[in-house]
């Protein structure tokens, strides 16, 4: 009980702190600093990307995204390491209930549609809102649907594994390409490919390529996280 009282006092203090913060925030009326810079540079199509947020994420602050993909990769590997089954014990015959016919055919019909939608999202990352992460998440939700619908569905591990590591390595390779092709300061620069016509699918240099790779990687990673979490019961 005392713990609740102490926590209550503590959080009252935080309410007070946040009250000070909210009071002192003056509302932004115009862009300034780097935000303004990015807006103007995208205005005159420096990177040829319509979606400024994508331009920032993929190229301007490319190292952040590289780091973030690494974060997701570590989480997936960590979960795989932690949930590895020490002894390869195959689950004895406790057969799970077979899911109904409608569910099975429905899911097999719906899953490809969702995957295509996911691909659409990260392919148009530089044009419309969305991108690698969102697309990857949608693909993972497609696989989630298959897991839920068909309990005996097993993802093909080495295909996913190869896809995951190759897309990651390709992403780093594109970064190095920037160094090799353009110059010492151009790690992860998207201008290694032509910027193409503004607004078309194949524009904004390497951004779509990078986002596709990220999409594939995030998709497979989230799928493997789900697979590990689901894993047959110990």
């Amino acid at each position: 009980m005392i713990k609740r009282i102490f926590s209550a006092i503590l959080l009252l203090g935080f309410v007070f702190v946040f009250f000070i913060i909210v009071n002192n925030i003056e509302e932004a009326t115009a862009l300034k600093g780097v935000g303004k810079e990015y807006a103007e540079r995208s205005g005159n199509q420096e990177l040829g990307a319509q979606n400024i947020v994508t331009a920032i994420i993929v190229t301007y602050r490319g190292l952040d995204t590289l780091g973030e993909v690494a974060v997701l990769f570590i989480a997936a590997t960590g979960i795989a390491v932690l949930l590895r089954r020490k002894k390869k014990k195959i689950d004895p015959g406790k057969k799970k209930r077979e899911s109904s016919e409608i569910l099975l055919t429905g899911s097999t019909l719906l899953a490809p549609m969702i995957i295509i939608f996911g691909i659409y999202i990260f392919l148009n990352g530089h044009l419309t809102p969305g991108g690698g992460f969102q697309g990857g998440a949608v693909i993972a939700s497609a696989i989630m649907l298959l897991f839920l619908a068909d309990t005996s569905y097993k993802i093909n591990h080495n295909v996913f594994g190869w896809l995951e590591s190759l897309s990651g390595f390709a992403y780093v390779l594109i970064g190095i390409l920037g160094l090799v092709m353009i110059g010492a300061d151009n790690f992860l620069d998207n201008r290694i490919l032509s910027l193409g016509t503004f607004g078309s699918i194949l524009s904004a240099g390497a951004i779509p390529v990078i986002y596709t790779l990220i999409g594939l990687k995030v998709g497979t990673e989230l799928a493997s996280i789900l697979d590990n979490m689901k894993g047959d019961l110990e």
């Binding site: 503590l10 600093g33 190292l63 690494a70 974060v71 390491v81 790690f187």
Partner: protein
Amino acid sequence: MVNPIYIVAILLGVGFLLPSFSKGGTKLTGAIFFAALISVCAISYQWLTGFLIGDQVSVMIFTAGFKPPISINLQMGMFEAIFTGSINFMALFGAIYMFRQMAETGTRSFVLFLLMVLGLNGLVMTRDIFNLFVFLEITSIATYSLIGMDLKLKSLSAGFKYMIAGGIASVFLLLGIIMLYSVTGTLNIDEMVKIIPAVANIKILTIGLFLVLFSLIIEMKQFPSNGWAIDAYEGVAPGLTGLVAAIGTGGVFFAIYKTFPMMNKDLLSMTAVIGMLTFFVSNLMGLKQKNPRRILGYSSVAQMGLILSVGAWGYRTGAADEIFMLVLIPLFINHFFAKAGLFWIAGIVKSEKYKNWGMIKNNKIILIPFIILVLALIGLPPFPGFWGKWNLVLFWGATKNFTWIWFLLAGSLIEAVYMLRWLGYALKGEDTEEVKFDMTVSKNLAVFLVTSLLLTIAVYYSWTNEAIAPIYYLPFTVGLALFYLPFLPAKIKGFISMSGIAVYAYYFLPDQAGFNLFFNTIFLGGSFFLIIATMHSKGKRVGFFPLLMLMIGSLVAMVEAKNTLQFFFAWEIMTVSSYFLIMRGKKAQKAALRYVIFSLGGAFLILIGFGYAFSEMHHKIVLPISLLGAIEENKSIVFILISIGFLVKIAGIGLHTWIGSAYKKAEDDTTAFLSSILSKAGIFGFVILILIMGIPKIGKIDIAYVLGWIGAITAISGTMIAIFQEDAKKLLAYSSMGQVGYIILAMATMSGLGWTAGMYQVVNHMLIKGILFLAIAGVIYRTGTSKMYKMGGLIKKMPLSYTAVMFGIIAISGVPPLTGFGAKWLLYEALIEKGWYLQTGVAFFASTVAFLYCFRLIHTIFLGQAKTEFKDVKEAPVWFIIPQYIFIIIIMAFSMKPKLLLDMITFAVKPIFGESLSWVGDTAFSSLGYWNGFVVMNIVMVLFIGLTVLLLIKAPKVQKVKQFNIVFAGERPETPELTHFAYQFYKPYYRALGFLVNPRVKTFWKNVSNSAHTIGDSLRKIYTGNGQTYAFWILMYGLILFFITVGVK
């Protein structure tokens, strides 16, 4: 130079690729893993050498082809090179250590390891604050996964608490970043530093800065919100904790160091206070720990607290770069290698309680690195920690922050206590069989690499420190050479040492003058003869001679020290080598620990004294000793502190509780060295101090007067305690405490005659204690016991030792004709001349009481009837006898011709205190009377020989009575020894004067150590082990700090 971005590219690329090679088994992936690590080490090594040796200038690396505020940039400057280099190499060693465990877990653990290293490198190099957050998350998540890898309950629960704290920290960091962005408009640290002065008054900026700083302080595991960190250090596999403690905190520290330029003044002082508080309190809590890993946990949290505080200080006073190189790097490297190595050793020795680490004493492969790393951790020379602490005291002294120096040195003393207590158990603990070693080759290899790298850096630091010229290390060369010849028999090593001393004396003594020459002759001459005694042992006596020569070398180096740094360097080497010499004795662990704590305490007081002195000298590196005199402002504080430091060495009253047990437990011939040679080091310190600074006055009180009384009380209390001792070595130990008290009393008179008396007593005491201790050593060697009531009647068996002890006693008690009388005569002359009549009375009483313990010594051991078990005892080995009789011949010479000795002394004293004794032929005339040593000697010699001849001829037939046929009313006492007259020889005196002697000082120091332990014990109770309470503490800590620094306005 390879573009540092490749470090990121290689680590990430290989990290992504490794899972696809997992089909090839852990052999293949292991090879790729090591290839990646080695190539990254190569890149950082190239940059490191570029900066340290080449003239490489710091480089900015841009990404995405745009300049910083638009894109993220990395920087590779001198500091980044040092940090990335040390992180990468330590990661390589860590990988070697953890290889087996990782191979078992599979390829994924290699991936996690690579990405942790990536996170740390990124953390050090990035200049963008959000990128800092991303790399911080990479490091943390990789560390969490590695922690959970071994699936043990302890690691998982510690990991979970770690994640809660990490989660809260990242929440505050994100809030801070967005606030900073909203005010400054940029995310690049260098840009922010430019913009902040313009927007400094905006409240949101200060709150944003506070949030960023606070979240990184949580990551830095500062007190009191670091319960989770210490549980992690204890629970997680030691291989990983070694890495987390070293490179993990190193990377996070550099991240917070990068944000310091943005912080305003009171945020920085808040960090400095937090850091120092953590350092002091964590060390205090470390006192009560039982589990070795938890001890190391507290110690590493403390060290990082200190480093954080120093970093904050650097930026707060604007001397950031200079302090970074001079103080921060040595302290960091010291913590970096020592912690990793010690954690790894804790991994090898599988034991939960440090008390049963006695097992490793006969396993050299672990013991030697363990000793080196513990010494490095405490900050003893020549390890980098010593230089770091010295420069830090220098810096704080120059900026008059004395309370910080006190906290720093109190904290390091406490840390020395619990680390050396642990080392004591490792060296001398008893063998408990349930400790098992995990002696896999890879683990020991990693420990070996870490220790040798630390040693090379230590040598590099000592060698390139311009304050200490390489010639200064000459006295230590023989000691260090002997380290490499353990296989030689003791006699040859003894001979090598003696020739080393002789050669050194031959080359260096002639061109010295004054007190340097005087003390050098004592140190070198005394130890030259005493080494003969050490050659009695038949075996190899591995490790004894190098330590002995290091001690003697440090004494000589102390005499020749030109500046305070050299003096302190020699002083600390002397403390360390004498500590290990005492430690060699059987069950000498407690005594050695008490000795080293007192000496280190004294040494730290001297350092604080120098700290106060620096405040007026503003010397960059070091302060020439001669300039100590030019201090005015806090002259008396400096004098008092440094003199207390020397008093500890001489076991002055109040600081003497270590002397009895230390001299008793040390090996017999080592005690001879300790008593006759080592205690003179304190005297030499006083001589130098008084010559340069004179004895200042505080208001009306004249410190000289106080010092005089301290000497007198030490003399009286030393002798009083000595009478009642049952153990011969303890008796002599307290007697040497008393005799040295005389010297202090003599020097305190500050008159020519006083100083002559003092120096005379120095020589006299060195010679006598040499004889007495060696004689007792011979007796103990033969009889096996040092308890006096067990011996008796050894005069027939050991006549030579008897005569040597007889000479010693006559000399020590001041009975004419021997040198003792000269010392007492000069002393009383000086005291009367000075007008200190009460002190003369006390000194006189003390010397008469001194005769009592001399009588007890010779009577119980040699006279009376021989005990049955000692009837076939032979004379002491010749090696003991030779030095005793050499000293006797010297004493006889000085007694016959006192002018010989007194000329040497006045040669040193005259230039300072003027003429004190005038000579006519052999008689010395002082203001009060005259003394002719030669005449007195001849008369006494004639009488003495006549009497002995007379006695021998007419020796009456003595009726032999069986010794123990004492019958008490018909029944025999079961322990006849106790009825022997020698037992409690001075029982009646004890009843009369016993109250003077009961151990008040001992109980005082016991209370001090107990109260430190209880405070530590009660403090550590706040770590209840519950993750939620830790989260509560973090948030409460944040709230309090918020209201302190950012405040309400």
